[in-house]
Symmetry: C2
Subunit: 517 residues, 2 copies
């Protein structure tokens, strides 16, 4: 573990990474931390916060850029270890590394642009009647130390130096990462890159720590520590809900940003099906099986009106699934859960199995894609069992008799990260408009004529949505708006200029954009 | 009750307003609502939401302005009833009416300015390598129907058409108000003014409802209803925490914005005391006793270094308290709680009673101001008992031996709405700078050389702070930023222009400010 500047060998139950393609254990052992390790990391973070939160946007931008460079400097060592621990192909991990570094640099740009501070100034009006107005100045400041839980499915971009860490550090919050136990070696490599940046930038050591723990104890203890002021999490619904409960039960409740569960409905509209049912079927299966379907935004539900064109789509998708090569899943546990979820759908009397992908008996933990079908009336009889997320390449097609059934399905859907519409802009306009209007209340992102599995890191992205997609629909965990999760407003009234924080001083030394009266 | 367009007479336990100055009951009776009434109001709000959320900023601004005009048109009828129900003087209520109408008009201006929508556009980059970028457009949309709990101490500005209602309606959320049982007649008058505005503006009836209920059942049932998506509350810590628990335990947890408990520390710095100890003592008591001390921002704690100048301040404050006239408190219950809180402090062995205000045996429920003193070491032995909020004109002075004790006190303070520094900009600069840096982590607003009891409604105000001051330190309940509590981001990807919401269309029909690449 990396607790501030110190290398600390844990003393608790050991984590061993496993190569999921071979089920072979990877050296070394990573023993877990104790409550004392949690307390030490939290106290260091609390100390560091008083210094780190007052660094300039430029200093923090330089720090993020240094982290990016240090991660890139790890070269193939990082990519190879991440591939061994996750079963993900090298090319995918190279792309993910680019995304991780690009994300850090995007937050550096955002820090310099300064919109995040949302500075608002209402100058004094001493002559106002019946009462004068004081000088009031508002800035957003960081909430305090943040705990980040790394995700299994993006060992770089949503893990130790992923989006949660980058946005919290950008906001001015020290970060303690609880490493995901599926990729401890990758976590250590990236953790050392972050720590080196802390030291190279002359920041207090408590700005970053990395802890290991085999069960939920280290994580739960972290979330309970009074120094911790917010939590970022990407993972299962059970895991996220457990953290939400712990955070709400603290003497001082704190916000949890958990990105958890989504089945990402895809609506095939009649005009689009008429035009290109066959191509759509093939494109859909490509999105479904990419990365063994291990994406939060994997299209797990297809909703369409019954028609001959839908049959063409289904036949095209069926063939594509049957030809789809198997792929190694991230961990034996994830593979087991996938098999169990697929088995439940297969056994359900109201569900027809349309296709399974290729088997590969020579490798372990293989995802053999699955495509299912049911009718809307059957789905609505048991929406909780049939609408559950099966993490991996599994999708359920729901055939509807009429538009009323489509809207009834939406009504019964839980909150989602995304909804997708395949549409013809002219012929489907009326139905699409009504769908978009309803779907906006259920999801964080609506897209047309594409697949939801790509999540662009930019200003206008929302990777969020109503519960259980996330714990807080007012937030996004991807894109520059992710920083806003870790900021809170403070107002300064009639404070002498020399005593104001730099963002609010009359001379505006940080050159932030400001709303003045 | 007003449930959409219908007048509904409740069937449950009756609420009767009481004139606190005389303890006389005021007609008429207000029988409470049932679970069916809650369900009806919630369903109407849900239906109305689909229409109301798509109204233009201009339409919502006009609606808010109409509410303001309708409230003003109630004239003396409103002021007289509010005074009878609250014991507050007419002049204070006239000022509060101005604040309420001004607040509605401020949100109308903010709607037209359009910053709240935070529109962000990243245009398509079809030629980008290695992957093209889709067209991405983000806007903030309303979260859904909101329940507002009126506060006792501002029967106009924080009640039926107060800051929570105004900001939620501005955001595009229908509002159901649970009326405060202390001023049901005032609530009905204002509720009818809001409902008339709904009708005059041709909005769906479910945009606004007003319910009565004598206990916590109507409120709890409202917060549990699946159509409700957020809660605004101003009141006691126990009441707010109960709502937080209910909201967190829902199948779909929802945000609660509760403004609860704050003792608003005031720091008297040596330079300021040297200059004007006597005037400060008098000014402080004026702030302490204003409105019988029934403000969230009432200065309940004075912290200073032991010195002869502090003695001068204390003597001045002592005299001012002893001369302070008594004032009628809002309700017999609030008066009882005040008496009990003051009695506990009086009986505490570590506390010295410096002064009590004038008695007035001829009126009921009189607040007789109280000023107490203790030492920092004693306070730190029992910070929870001594740091508790006594709602009303009660304040505790803590004498410190040195600066270390001052910072130890800050460390032990819970989250606060405000902290105040009386300082000399030159002589106290060093200590003030260190205090401001620490206090920013504990409070929502820091002010110098004033008293915290005035809360300006403007862009740069924060009426919020870490728990237990509020349930969510990322928010403010006063000022234009209060709207942000009821909005969430949604991203649109590659949606044809004609199908986009107006805020995101290429022609920008609502003329909103937009961040474009």
């Amino acid at each position: 573990m990396l607790i501030g500047a110190a290398d600390v060998l844990g003393t608790q139950a050991v984590i061993r990474a496993v190569n999921p393609a071979t089920n072979q254990t990877l050296a070394p052992d990573f023993p877990g931390g104790t409550a004392a390790d949690v307390a030490r990391a939290s106290e260091l973070a609390d100390e560091a916060f008083h210094v780190y939160r007052q660094t300039s946007p430029e200093d923090r931008a330089t720090f993020l850029e240094r982290i990016a460079a240090n991660i890139e400097a790890l070269g193939d060592t990082l990519i190879n270890r991440a591939s061994e621990e996750s079963g993900l192909p090298l090319a995918r991990l190279q792309g993910e590394r680019g995304r991780t570094a690009g994300q850090l640099r995007l937050f550096a740009r955002e820090l310099r642009a300064g919109r995040w501070a949302d500075v608002r100034i209402n100058g004094a009006l001493p002559e106002r009647q019946p009462l004068p107005r004081a000088d009031l100045r508002l800035e957003y400041i960081p909430v305090g130390p943040v705990v980040v839980f790394g995700a299994s499915n993006f060992p770089l971009a949503f893990s130790v130096a992923g989006g949660d860490t980058a946005s919290a550090l950008a906001a001015g919050c020290p970060v303690i990462v609880k490493a995901h136990s599926a990729h401890p070696g990758t976590s250590e490599l990236v953790g050392r890159a972050v720590r080196a940046a802390v030291q190279e930038c002359g920041l207090p050591e408590g700005v970053f720590s990395l802890l290991f723990g085999s069960g939920s104890e280290v994580g739960q203890t972290l979330v309970k520590h009074p120094a911790i002021k917010a939590v970022g999490f990407t993972g299962s619904r059970n895991g996220g809900v457990a953290l939400m409960k712990t955070a709400a039960a603290r003497p001082e409740p704190i916000p949890v940003y958990a990105e958890m569960s989504s089945i990402n409905p895809v609506f095939l509209l009649p005009g689009a099906l008429t035009q290109r049912a066959q191509a759509l079927g093939a494109g859909f299966v490509q999105s479904l099986t990419m990365g063994a379907g291990q994406f939060c935004t994997n299209p797990g539900l297809i909703i369409a009106l019954r028609s001959p064109e839908l049959d063409t789509f289904l036949e095209s998708a069926r063939q594509a699934v049957e030809q789809a090569a198997s792929a190694t899943m991230l961990t034996p546990g994830i593979h087991g859960a996938y098999e169990s979820g697929v088995a439940q759908l297969t056994a359900h009397p109201a569900i027809q199995t349309l296709a399974r992908g290729q088997r590969n008996p020579s490798a372990s933990n293989q995802c053999q894609a699955a495509l299912f079908k049911t009718g809307a009336a059957d789905f609505l009889k048991d929406p909780h069992a049939l609408g559950v997320e099966v993490f991996g390449a599994s999708s359920l097609v729901i055939e509807c008799d009429d538009e009323a059934q489509v809207f009834a399905l939406i009504q019964h859907l839980e909150g989602q990260l995304t909804a997708t519409l395949w549409l013809d802009a002219d012929k489907d306009a009326d139905l699409a408009r009504r769908l978009i209007s309803r779907l906006a209340l259920k999801v964080g992102r609506i897209l047309a004529n594409g697949f939801p599995t790509g999540v662009e890191v930019c200003d206008a992205m929302v990777h969020g949505g109503p519960f259980p997609a996330t714990s807080d629909p007012r937030s996004t965990s991807v894109g520059t708006a992710a920083m806003l999760r870790f900021l809170r407003p403070v107002s300064y009234q009639d404070i002498p200029d020399a005593l104001l924080p730099p963002a609010l001083q009359r001379a505006n030394p940080w050159k932030l954009p400001r709303l003045e009266d």
